[in-house]
Symmetry: C2
Subunit: 213 residues, 2 copies
């Protein structure tokens, strides 16, 4: 099999890559990285990702890391398969790129910290930092205010169709829906409708099924 994903079931970036592959209906080999044994900090893993973080990705002799670079590659290299994840028109691509940056630098900055503090820390026997939760909820609320305005103008964040922008949000949105932070999404009707839409993707159900989470 040509495509290999080295990931961990609880890693949102790993989930992001699996979702892109599922949307494209591509076959792949899933290689479990045992982070509790520190496999991500050792060879052979760090020869693919020198930063020692999941996921890492192989397609034949091409080796990649950084989940959003991997999904971008999948979207372009397999443009003719499954769901189109990018517009063709260069001006629409530019708009999509803006919102890709917003997800990575604004939404995820707050969303990942909240997910870690509220969901992951208790699993690891660590104590949630309530001050950090408070602060990041404020940050996330500001981002969601902008999303609410954007989603009152277009059905999806990148434009009128589902793109990589929406896809990149799914794992963290899915986590946050299990926490009190859900209230921030529910309070904004367009955001709330968008959340329902992106979490209902059949490809996401496939990922959850593969990972058994």
């Amino acid at each position: 099999m040509a495509i290999k994903v080295h990931g961990n079931p609880f890693s949102p970036p790993s989930q992001r890559v699996l979702l892109a592959l599922a949307e494209k209906d591509l076959d792949y080999e899933y290689v479990f990285v045992d982070m509790s044994a520190g496999q991500h900090k050792k060879e052979p893993f760090i020869s693919i990702n020198p930063f020692g973080q999941v996921p890492a990705f192989e397609d034949g002799d091409l080796k990649l890391f950084e989940s959003r670079a991997i999904t971008r590659y999948i979207a372009y290299a397999y443009a003719d398969k499954g769901t189109p994840l990018f517009d063709q028109d260069p001006k629409k691509v530019a708009i999509t790129s803006v919102w890709l940056e917003v997800e990575a630098l604004k939404f995820d900055a707050a969303g990942s910290k909240l997910s870690f503090e509220i969901l992951i820390k208790p699993l690891l026997g660590m104590t949630t930092d309530e001050g950090a939760v408070e602060q990041q909820q404020g940050q996330l609320a500001s981002v969601l205010d902008v999303y609410e305005a954007r989603l009152s103008e277009s059905k999806y964040l990148g434009g009128d169709s589902f793109t990589l922008v929406d896809l990149h949000h799914v794992p963290i949105v899915n986590n946050l829906m299990k926490t009190k932070v859900k209230a921030l999404f529910d309070a904004r009707p367009h955001v709330s409708a968008w959340v329902s839409e992106i979490l209902a993707r059949p490809a996401w159900a496939k990922v959850l099924d593969v990972l058994k989470i």
Copy 2:
């Protein structure tokens, strides 16, 4: 004139966009955003960037924000002008995309905070947080260790030619060279050679000249 950049001379993201335009040898109108008067938080600026941050960009009726989405648009929309800022081969583009993510999520995360703490805060009469400086220097050193290995294999971070990846680093690297953090770059020979190379771009000299900084 078709292209307008709304920016501030001291904003590294604004500088990043001007550098892309200079590499492409494109004409543009520079609109000064007076951040001390809060212009970036008011109309008409926030109708281009609802997050109220410089830069914002217009090319005819296309309005963009997020500096890296803007430079990506410039690189593709004006592919035939000036310096090519992207490879053509899809696998090389994928590798470039990995390092674009590394710059935005790892290098800049530490570098921008250091630049703000050491250079900008004193200008604004604020006190540098030495604990934060210490911590971010540690983060940056880890990133530069990976860069040192990468740059021993290829002349530039994205590959054998100068691309958007290197370009995105220039404003923050330029700032950090004026601080004690320079020592972290100097201690790594391949990183140090790369710094000299990217800061010596004639296009960067043009930007400094336009901004009078």
